[in-house]
Amino acid sequence: MENLVWLIPTFPLLGFVLILLFGRRLGEPNAGWLATTMVTGSFISSLCVFLGMAGKNSEERAYEITLFEWIPSGELNIGLGFLADPLSITMALFITGVSALIHMYAIGYMHGDPNFSKFFIYLNLFVFSMLMLVLGDNLLITFLGWEGVGACSYFLISFWHQDPANASAGKKAFVTNRVGDWGFMVAMFLLFFNIGSLKYSDIFSSVIQVDALTQTTATAVVVMLFIGAAGKSAQFPLYLWLPDAMAGPTPVSALIHAATMVTSGVYLLTRMNPVLAEAAGWSTDLIWIIGLFTALFAATAAVAQNDIKKVLAYSTVSQLGFMFVAVGSGLYVAAIFHMITHAFFKALLFLGAGSVIHGMHEEQDMRKYGALKKVMPITAGTFIIGWLAISGIPPFSGFWSKDEVLLAAWNENKVAWVLLLIAAIMTAFYMSRLVFMTFFGEKRWGEYETENHEQDEQLSSSESEERHTFDPHESPVLMWFPLVALAGLAAAAGILNLPFSHDTKFLEKWLEPILFGNEVHILASTSTKWLLAVIAITGATIGVLSASYVYLKNRVNPTQIELPILQDAWKFDRSVTTFMGGPGRKVFDWITWFDRTVIDGAVNGAGKLTQGIGIRLKTTQTGLIRTYALGMVIGAVAIIAYFVSRMGF
């Protein structure tokens, strides 16, 4: 059934075209249902391909199909082709699955929006691009998807573009991503230069069988690919766009900026594992070091955020760092495993946050939440599952995958393990903080105005009156059903790759063929692994307990932890913005000035000069014969003098 692979991206493309043409006529909610149906169709086709593939021997699990030639030029021959193999199908399955649920949720969430159908145009286009990214059989098709998801992300972040902040956030995301795309493009040029093809199978067979890349080239390719991956997957220092990207509607944050698009960097590096295996050690070290740093850095920032979505955004950056640690250590399965579980629980958390925001009438500040458990029981219940999963409490999925990543760090470097463990403890801490501030404790809504006078002044009187009758409510079924489904997945996804025996490591066995033996073997003994797991659980528990100590029992003043510098994410974003707006802009201004004054000035100057000379010369044309005669005489004398002097008596 692998030959159905082309159907997977075709469904959302069809949805995109149909809603583009008939969206307004379909209206709400039909446009949303059409979009959801298309993605579900895509999920079913992925499932068919998966089942067909699972029935085969592991070495036969690959299917390629080229629909048509896209860019043929000389040696270059890019086909619009798909590759169905264990990795791409794994990606396609969870992408379409999570997308279908989020589409459904969005029907409820976007209720009443004047651009309802437009939202689903972009959403379906996004799913199409994402599927092209993972299913492409060559780097350029992946790049097509890569840019496509970037464009959709841009559209959707600035979806409510009337607020200039949202529009800026969208632009920032696109431009920052383009910095990464530069790396991706250079990596493609290098591969084409050395291998003469961009097709995965050509690249891999050349690398594995005839050692086509020198170590230097492979290293350069890896570094460039990593720049690309860092842009899309929000690694330091290119993470800047992701916290701002929260300006988009919450389903977008869940789908694009948590579950799918941001993981494409991890996918790309995993896909390119034969090249990573050829590269010098420092380049893969660079990957895990940056990943580790990002994990820690973002975790510290997440501790001090008050906007519920910002906490989740920094948390996503941090978790992506975890995945890169695994990739850099050569444990690709751990990275993909964590990617999948993260997709489930982070999508769940974002949708839960969306449900809270929806119920709280677009309020995103956690300081104004509290005790929402009673009014929003389903949201709270599912959110708690997501919280336990991301915190690494067994038996929820996050524990299993995070444990693998920690093991990868241990295998690579003991210091890395300690630091990553700290990041994991902080994860448990800030997520618990979020949950406690939102669902537990005292309610801080309703009597809101009397507490915050300074913000009150900004509110018009009619708005304040609305606040008096403030009434948080549970979200409709369309919104909580996806929450329940994702909660189930977030709770149970650990069974994909249980570490108890080789037979329970389904994911590892499944992905083995496409890793070409490049997966690093873990050297730690069984008892060490046990010990590490126990330490990880203890760490997670410490994180949760200390958060309850601060935020439930109020034993410590939170301001001692939520330092302003953390709130500002170490002022990195601000410094970059200041630099771009200051010296950066000055340089641009200076060049523009140079163009207008020097270059164009020279042109106009030449014009003026010619004109000036003309005017001067005009005065010599006096019309007086004696002047001309004088000139002639002088000239004749000069010429004669010249020849006379040359003759040399």
Partner: protein
């Protein structure tokens, strides 16, 4: 008199004198318009539509009749000035084919879509003469004929800018005229010296025939290099390349929408086309010798154009500077001197014509609605004009080079070719894609996003595209999408001519100091084969590596599978 004989002569060789018709039909159209009474505006437009439209239809027919080999086709030859060896000698190959089609189609499009505000009769006359000139440049295979058309083009454009332009139009038109004349003067000197030197060195009669001169390179290397520079300067001004580009922003900004569309769509290609046809083809050695210079100027143009575009306050000026960046790419591809680079450059010429032409159309539509092009005075258009905004977004993304839209194909091929030939230039040039996103998205945000700007006092809800406007924009949009998804028919028609050109360069540089830069080609296998082969080899080495581990670490496991088996629990 001789010109009229062309029809008779050509009809003897082919059944239908395609090229003379293509070139002269619009001129007859201009004549027809000139003969109608002044007041009949509708008739002027109708005649212009019919004449340019038929020309367009014939160019499409040429596209279908064209055979994908590297040769010149539809050749038409006729003696013009015999004593000087000047001929009417025209033909179309893969490199010029799409430029001919673009010229054929863009003019009727402009005539139909954009109406002048005054002096209709003169306007349609000039537009049609302009089509004749552009068409003539792209089909000329005779240096003199090329020069004549290259110069003819200036006159209608001068009047279009000067008479129908906005603001400081006269200044812009004069600047445009004088600047390009300066370049052309040098080219005329170069052409004459080339012809004279060639006939002297080769011992033949004086000929202006491009193919004859190119296939029999007789003049010395030094003179060839000097003459090449003369040509190159004329082309560089026409492209325009940094630092002789400043006429372009003025001309574009002050020109009427139709003028901008034609200028961006067709006329800027006269220079880049000249570089390929008369630079590379006539002077392979000099092109190779000076390639680093032009690559550098191309890269500077890409980055510099983008930086200056970012800071522009006038939307039309911004698009004009973005043209400079895009044309930098074309020059970069041309002087990569390999298949991907030149093919990419040719493709980019068409794509730039489509997307920048469309951008100018859209800027014109915005101007008609808001009566300003100042970015700071616009804002929030997306809310009241979503279709206009959506169209602009699509065109903008094509201009940024988003894969799946036309702009990407050319840009990618150019960068790929440039990287294969000169990697550091390509690395720098590729940063242009970041800057392109920066200036266009920033402009888009300020023009379309946000709340609608109401400080002008007047009613500021911008009307959306009318059905007529949608219809007229549709061909451009369709082209942008089609050429992005399925550029193969275009690439296949261009490639043989490019291959032939590169081969010509290789042969002509006789000392073998130049070979086409090509990538190394390695193993090609399907994924299935690869998986099976690695599975086989892996199953051998797997046990081996497990064995090693056992020795090294002494865990007492048989192999790594067993080890991980015990790794979890017991």
């Amino acid at each position: 008199m001789n010109l009229l004989n062309i029809f008779a002569a050509a009809s003897l060789e082919t059944s239908f004198p395609v090229i003379p018709v293509l070139v002269l039909l619009p001129a007859f159209g201009a004549l027809a318009v000139a003969l109608t009474p002044n007041g009949r505006i509708g008739l002027h437009k109708l005649l212009a539509t019919v004449f340019t439209g038929i020309t367009g239809a014939i160019s499409v027919w040429v596209l279908t009749a064209f055979e994908s080999n590297g040769d010149y086709q539809f050749l038409s030859e006729q003696t013009w000035i015999e004593s000087l060896g000047i001929q009417w000698n025209a033909g179309i190959d893969g490199i010029s084919l799409f430029l001919v089609v673009l010229t054929g189609l863009l003019f009727p499009f402009v005539v139909i879509a954009i109406n002048p505000h005054h002096d209709h009769k003169a306007y349609y006359i000039w537009v049609q003469l302009l089509q004749t000139g552009c068409m003539g440049v792209f089909v000329s295979l005779d240096l003199f004929m090329f020069f004549v058309f290259f110069e003819i083009v200036l006159v209608p454009m001068y009047f279009l800018i000067g008479k129908w332009g906005h603001g400081n139009a006269r200044y812009a038109a004069t600047k445009f005229f004088l600047y390009t004349m300066l370049g052309s003067a040098l080219m005329l000197v170069s052409i004459i010296s080339l012809v004279v030197l060639h006939s002297r060195e080769a011992g033949t009669d004086i000929t202006f025939n491009l193919i004859e001169i190119a296939s029999n390179p007789a003049i010395s290397t030094t003179s060839a290099r000097l003459i090449f520079l003369g040509f190159a300067l004329a082309f560089a001004v026409k492209v325009p390349l940094f630092p002789v580009h400043t006429w372009l922003p003025d001309a574009h900004t002050e020109a009427p929408t139709a003028g901008s569309v034609i200028l961006a769509g067709v006329m800027l290609k006269l220079g880049t086309y000249g570089f390929i046809r008369f630079g590379l083809y006539l002077f392979p050695e000099a092109s190779h010798f000076f390639a680093p210079l032009f690559l550098t100027l191309g890269v500077v143009g890409i980055i510099y154009g983008a930086v200056v575009a970012t800071m522009q306050k006038d939307l039309k000026r911004l698009v004009a500077y973005s043209s400079i960046a895009h044309l930098g790419f074309i020059v970069l591809g041309t002087f990569s001197l390999n298949t991907q680079g030149i093919q990419g450059a040719t493709v980019q010429m068409i794509n730039h014509g489509l997307s920048t032409g469309a951008l100018f159309m859209l800027v014109g539509l915005i101007y008609e609605r808001r009566h300003t092009r100042q970015i700071s005075e616009l804002g929030g258009i997306q809310k009241s004009a979503p279709v206009l905004a959506g169209t602009f977004t699509l065109v903008m993304l094509s201009s940024i080079g988003l894969p799946g839209l036309n702009g990407f194909v050319g840009e990618f091929l150019i960068l790929l070719g440039a990287f294969t030939a000169h990697r550091w230039w390509a690395l720098l040039a590729a940063t242009g894609v970041i800057l392109a996103a920066l200036y266009l998205l920033w402009a888009y945000q300020r023009v379309f996003h946000g709340p609608e700007n109401k400080d002008n006092g007047e009613e500021q809800t911008t009307p959306d595209l009318t059905n007529w406007e949608r219809l007229t924009l549709f061909p451009l949009i369709a082209g942008i999408i089609f050429l992005g998804i399925y550029p193969k028919p275009m690439l296949n028609r261009i490639e043989p001519a490019v291959d032939k050109l590169v081969a010509h360069i290789e042969i002509t540089i006789a000392d073998g100091s130049f070979t086409e830069p090509v990538p190394t080609v390695q193993v090609r296998k399907s994924f299935e084969e690869l998986l099976e082969e690695t599975y086989e080899s892996h199953s051998h080495s797997d046990g081996h590596s497990g064995h090693e581990e056992e020795k090294d670490h002494g865990h007492g496991s048989e192999n790594h599978e067993d080890q991980s088996h015990s790794g979890g629990h017991e």
